[in-house]
């Protein structure tokens, strides 16, 4: 059982060297995630979101700056942090059940407890009946749900989610969003979610950071203090969405674009 943790990211810079060229990916990323908070990261494709999660989970230690977990610098992967990768990354030679169970591989539980936990997790993500299917027999969304189950099963204190709901249909997506919220409330897990979906970010998180690309940095931070359950069509919700989209340069004021249309039409006349 993980104890939620506080994550501090301090001036993290990261570059890759490609064919001798230095490619700066992150340039001074700084933000905190309080213990038990739900933070979402939104940003354009290629801005370094997945790279950042890799650093936080401890797969890559070649960076400048500090990533602190409860005040201590992280050194390698640990049970306290779970991750759902952007690609589902199920092992093709294991059945769904075995894939989910892989998380428990070196836990000192009885075989029966493990089987029970796997069954419970499988049911939670709605995959009961597919226990013995191989990944190539699953749909993209099913595989993604299995990956979520695998990350949740040993109840990490910090859960990193890299667009975990990207491959899902709207209905399943909303169901799993609610499921994530439920788990977050019940377990008090610290959540860091990468998403392209601004609605999803607002619906789930108490904080949203917007990243800019080339090189990546945090361009803005939003606190979401809407009451829950959140109304996806509520005024405050929409207002916040407008602000975030504007920050992402995806939103032009309606009035303005109307004027533009007018002017275009005017020029045609």
């Amino acid at each position: 059982m993980g104890i939620a943790g506080k994550v501090e990211i301090r001036s993290v810079r990261k570059h890759y060297t490609v064919d001798g060229d230095r490619l700066q990916i992150l340039s001074g990323v700084t933000f905190d995630v309080g213990s038990g908070h739900f933070l979402s990261i939104v940003g354009p494709s290629g801005c370094g979101k997945s790279t950042l999660l890799r650093l936080i989970v401890g797969l890559d230690s070649e960076y400048e700056g500090d990533i602190l977990l409860n005040g201590e610098r992280i050194g390698g992967p640990s049970r306290a942090r779970g991750i759902v990768f952007q690609d589902h990354r199920l092992l093709p030679w294991l059945t769904l059940e075995q894939n989910i169970g892989l998380s428990l591989e070196n836990m000192e539980w009885s075989a029966q407890d493990k089987a029970e936990a796997v069954r419970g997790q499988t049911a939670l993500v709605g995959l009961s009946g597919f226990e013995n299917a191989y990944p190539h027999q699953l749909s993209g969304g099913m595989a993604q749900r299995a990956a979520i189950a695998r990350a949740l099963i040993n109840k990490p204190g910090i859960l990193l989610l890299d667009e975990p709901l990207g491959a899902l249909d709207a209905i399943t997506r909303i169901r799993l969003q609610e499921e994530l919220l439920r788990i977050w409330r019940v377990e008090g897990t610290t959540m860091i979610l990468v998403t392209h979906d601004v609605d999803e970010a607002i619906f789930l998180s108490n904080e949203i950071v917007v990243m800019s690309a080339h090189p990546g940095y945090i361009s803005k931070r939003f606190i979401v203090d809407l009451p829950s359950p959140r109304d996806r069509a509520g005024n405050e919700f929409i207002e916040l969405k407008r602000l975030i989209l504007a920050e992402l340069h995806l939103y032009r004021q309606k009035a303005q674009s109307d004027t533009e249309n007018w002017m275009n039409m005017a020029s045609l006349i």
Partner: protein, 286 residues
């Protein structure tokens, strides 16, 4: 070969789902047959060849001493089986191939895994392996026979050597080409080294290993004939060279047919095993 085998590898998941039991059992039987021996289409060409052979023999296109009629070959087979030691010779060959295959592939997979996991060990073995590999197994035989005599052990050793190299190289290559993503997943799940090897690295290398197992099984069977022909007084290889010496062309053809058929069965069994072990793979089925 490949299009015959492709039919055989279709996984039964789709086949067994949602059909009435009776239909299923029939289609399973056909499926089972197809899986093992390939589609009946594969029988057309052999039948044509035998027909041509029969014609050639009937019209005496070739002298009967050099090409006896199919009927005479069947008679020779019966004679060898009942009056001579054909079955015993067959077992002698199988015994050598079986042992050589097991030892050679166990050593190949074991050392290949070790070399795959440790660059140091690979470098340590590298020079030796790459040199010894190029001396054909058969070239070793004379020396080994001097040491071990003309009995089975010398042949087992030589054939095991020929089985070893494809397995060693393919296991090594298979392990080196495991996707880094999967290793990272294992790291995140805090798998121990042992678990990583068992759950991630070896299964990922399994397609390579299975291909070389199948190849090596065929190779071993082919080599036993050569090895027995070169030394020793039993086995199918011995029989075939003796038949040549005595101009018993019918017996020679019996041996050739047995060698071909056994090779075929070995290959199909290995392929079935490969399909079973790699059933998680979703490959191009042709």
């Amino acid at each position: 070969m490949s299009n015959l085998s492709a039919a055989a590898c279709t996984v039964d998941a789709t086949e067994t789902a949602g059909k009435p039991a009776a239909v299923r059992s029939v289609s399973l039987k056909i499926g089972e047959f197809t899986r093992r021996f390939g589609s009946p289409v594969g029988l057309v060409l052999p039948i044509l060849i035998v027909a041509l052979w029969q014609t050639a023999a009937s019209y005496q296109w070739v002298e009967p001493v050099f090409l006896p009629a199919p009927r005479k070959v069947v008679d020779a087979f019966w004679l060898m089986l009942t009056k001579q030691d054909l079955f015993f010779d067959f077992l002698a060959s199988m015994n050598i191939v079986g042992q050589a295959f097991v030892y050679g592939s166990a050593a190949g997979i074991g050392l290949g895994t070790a070399a795959g996991l440790s660059r140091k060990f690979e470098q340590f073995l590298g020079t030796t392996v790459d040199t010894v590999r190029h001396i054909p197994g058969i070239a070793w035989l004379p020396l080994i026979v001097l040491w071990l005599g003309i009995g089975a052990p010398a042949k087992i050793l030589v054939i095991a050597k020929s089985v070893f190299f494809p397995l060693f190289l393919n296991t090594l290559q298979g392990i080196r080409s495991v996707e880094k993503n999967y290793i990272e997943l294992g790291q995140v799940l805090l798998l121990t080294r042992r678990q990583m090897v068992r759950k991630v690295i070896l299964p990922a290398a399994m397609p390579n290993i299975m291909v070389s197992l199948r190849y090596a099984a065929g190779l071993a069977w082919a080599l036993v004939v050569v090895a027995e022909g070169l030394s020793g007084l039993e086995g199918l290889g011995f029989l075939i060279f003796r038949a040549q010496g005595l101009l018993l062309t019918d017996q020679l053809l019996v041996c050739m047919a047995i060698i071909g058929l056994v090779g075929f069965v070995i290959d199909r069994q290995m392929y079935a095993l490969q399909c079973r072990i790699l059933r998680w793979q979703q490959g191009f089925k042709g």
